[in-house]
């Protein structure tokens, strides 16, 4: 029997054709007076690694717990693979969760922990042993199967938790801050491992995290959450390069944000007047001439050069260096603009500054400039 599957590599990019695996519609969760999740809609497609990103208390964990079936909904529906989850208890959902604290059963060995889920489904003994063995092999813990959780290191426990959640081959794996308990170096390494494993097993992942770098590295798409609502949903590149609001621009990476007024709105360009220079954007934007708008510039997209002349023309201005931070691979410059606003500019340290004169330093007069494609226009 041959099964021809034409699963697209990126179904979320052609949303119209595919039936979403998870459909969240108008979901609301209130704790007394506090609204943790506020009327959100979201589609997640098969094979995605979707990140819910936000600060603490933004509602991302609550949403995850509602998907797992640990929290009731005050309003809205959650559908997984076409089935409404309203009356499906946690123990019958096609989801598995990896807990932030890992929640390994302390009185069971690694092997027993991993086998627990399969035993609940009455998987035959020989099959069970094989599946436990395979998954432990995948996370490279075969030699540790007789150990108790407290005899393992943090990284090993994390992998047991992952194996236990994956062994039942859920339609949807929910991961609550999967890397938060690891130290920084291990975390970076594990980020890639996690993405690789997801690729291998082909399970849809929803990851909750407060770490923007983690979300950027891991996800196929992500949602930025604040105060129970989605601020923006998109691929990491979309979110970073085309933020829709000041909140997102500032939350993901850093951004110099300033106010301006639209002076010209063309089909393929926009001109914005600001206090220190004219901003020219080389692509169209839905704006109104005369309306107030915010402009955001990423620190790494600004060029910095020594110059005594007064800079004139669009996308450039004179400035004075207020402060310099040497970070090794890059340097961060705080530059003061003519209107006393201070911008962050980062520059890679491509060559070793051999002469003191080559170095940009305090009180140097400089010119800053950026490409017409770099400025991001924000409505809110």
């Amino acid at each position: 029997m041959t099964v021809s599957t034409t699963v697209s590599a990126a179904p979320w990019l052609e949303q119209k054709e595919q039936q979403p695996l998870v459909q969240i519609r108008g979901v609301t969760k209130k704790y007394g007076e506090v609204t943790a999740v506020d009327n959100v809609d979201l589609d997640i497609y098969k094979g995605e690694l979707f990140c819910l990103l936000g600060g603490s208390g933004c509602g991302k964990s609550t949403l995850l717990r509602m998907l797992a079936g640990f929290e009731d909904l005050n309003a809205g529906t959650i559908t997984i693979d076409g089935v409404d989850m309203a009356d499906v208890p946690a123990y019958e959902r096609p989801t598995n969760m990896m807990f932030q604290s890992y929640a390994l059963f302390p009185h069971m060995t690694v092997e027993k922990n991993v086998a627990f889920g399969l035993e609940q489904d009455h998987v035959p003994k020989f099959d069970l042993a094989d599946r436990v063995h395979d998954i432990l092999k995948l996370v490279e813990l075969e030699d540790f199967k007789k150990r108790k959780p407290k005899q393992l290191s943090g990284g090993q426990r994390q992998r047991v938790a992952l194996a236990r959640a994956l062994v039942k081959r859920p339609k949807l794996l929910l991961l609550d801050e999967p890397l938060a308990a690891l130290d920084k170096k291990l975390r970076k390494q594990t980020q890639f491992e996690l993405a690789n494993i997801q690729d291998k097993v082909g399970v849809t992942f929803i990851v909750v995290t407060h770490d923007q770098e983690e979300a950027m590295t891991l996800s196929s798409r992500m949602a930025v959450m604040d105060a129970g609502r989605f601020k923006q949903i998109g691929t990491p590149t979309e979110i970073y390069e085309f933020p829709e609001s000041r909140f997102v621009a500032d939350f993901i990476g850093s951004a110099n944000i300033f106010e301006g007024r639209v002076t010209e709105d063309g089909a393929d360009h926009v001109r914005v007047e600001t206090e220190f220079c004219e901003v020219f954007v080389d692509h169209g934007h839905s704006v109104k001439v005369g309306s107030k708008i915010w402009v955001a510039l990423r620190p790494e997209k600004i060029r910095l050069e020594k110059s005594d002349e007064v800079a004139e023309g669009p996308n450039q201005t004179s400035a004075i260096i207020d402060d310099v931070g040497y970070l090794g691979e890059t340097s961060i410059y705080k530059v003061r603009l003519p209107n006393d606003e201070v911008f962050d500019v980062t520059m890679p340290n491509q060559s070793r500054p051999t002469h003191a004169t080559q170095r940009l330093t305090w009180e140097d007069k400089v010119k800053i400039s950026w490409d017409p494609s770099s400025a991001m226009l924000l409505h809110s």
């Binding site: 797992a68 079936g69 640990f70 208890p89 946690a90 123990y91 019958e92 959902r93 989801t95 598995n96 969760m97 807990f99 604290s101 929640a103 059963f105 009185h107 627990f116 889920g117 609940q120 489904d121 108790k148 407290k150 005899q151 393992l152 290191s153 943090g154 990284g155 090993q156 236990r164 039942k168």
Partner: protein, 280 residues
């Protein structure tokens, strides 16, 4: 870092410990006293131990007390655990506050009141349905269960709150139905609290004089009742001997518990070291 220990503190500590332990030491010493009069020293002897072992009255009291204590501890642990689970894991059900209040009421109720009310209850019950015809083992056990259950419930509640619900959620998430979660995860998690709750109920029962005095009947003497009734007739050296044996038994139990705990801690330390070595 400790500076030089203050002399005042050392003296206070010594006095405090002396206050606790000198009476017990005296009791042990006097249990080996030959003289029939407790305060008069008549030389070393095992006379009272011999008399004690020959006294059927004492041994039947010991046996009754132990039986009541074991049955009480077992029932109180079972009921107290259920009550604790209801309080912590069943959300905000109707009448939860009232139930919680009633659950801890026996902790603050004066024992004489509890004893008296139970006596009245047993008498009326006897008139109504003819049971209990005679007060003794059954009535004392029931009385003890009613108040020691409250202590167990409090212990279990504390433990349940302490361990949190995450492991139970993890089990449910992996497909375990509620009853399976209870037996496979919750109960093993509760083991330390179950043991300490059982021991607490056991001790409370073994210790109780007031309530037992109210609800006992002729011929059913628990150990505290026996000791107290004998003391009323004047200090008797054989009671000293009995007390010494009890102190010995308790000391052995505590020592075993300490050794077990020490071993456990050492095993934990080794586990942690093993885990850390592999981290690098």
């Amino acid at each position: 870092m400790y500076a030089k220990r203050s002399r005042f503190l050392t003296i206070m500590l010594t006095l405090g410990l002396a206050f606790f332990y000198i009476p017990m030491v005296l009791l042990v010493i006097y249990s080996f006293n030959y003289s029939k009069l407790v305060p008069v020293w008549g030389g070393w002897s095992l006379r009272w131990y011999k008399e004690l072992f020959q006294s059927a009255e004492v041994w039947s009291a010991v046996s009754l007390s132990l039986q009541i204590a074991v049955v009480n501890a077992t029932f109180a642990t079972a009921l107290g655990t259920l009550a604790g689970l209801a309080m912590v894991r069943f959300g905000r059900f109707k009448g939860r506050t009232l139930f919680g209040g009633m659950l801890v009421a026996p902790l603050v109720m004066p024992e004489v009141i509890t004893g008296l009310s139970l006596l009245v209850f047993f008498i009326s019950l006897n008139q109504l349905i003819g049971w209990p015809a005679e007060r003794g083992f059954a009535t004392i056990t029931i009385a003890h269960i009613t108040f020691s259950m409250a202590y167990v419930a409090v212990t279990i509640q504390a433990r349940l709150t302490g361990v949190g619900q995450t492991l139970e959620e993890a089990a449910a998430d992996l497909g375990a139905k509620p009853f399976k979660v209870l037996t496979a995860i919750t109960i093993p998690q509760l083991t330390p609290a179950l043991i300490s709750g059982w021991l607490l109920a056991f001790t409370l029962s073994l210790d109780d004089l007031v309530i037992a005095s109210f609800v006992t009947g002729p011929g059913a003497n628990t150990l505290p009742i026996l000791i107290f009734s004998r003391i009323r007739l004047g200090l008797r050296p054989d009671i000293n001997a009995l007390a010494t044996i009890m102190i010995l038994v308790i000391t052995i139990c505590v020592a075993i518990a300490a050794i077990v705990m020490f071993r456990q801690q050492r095993a934990d330390l080794l586990d942690r070291q093993m885990a850390e070595r592999e981290e690098s």
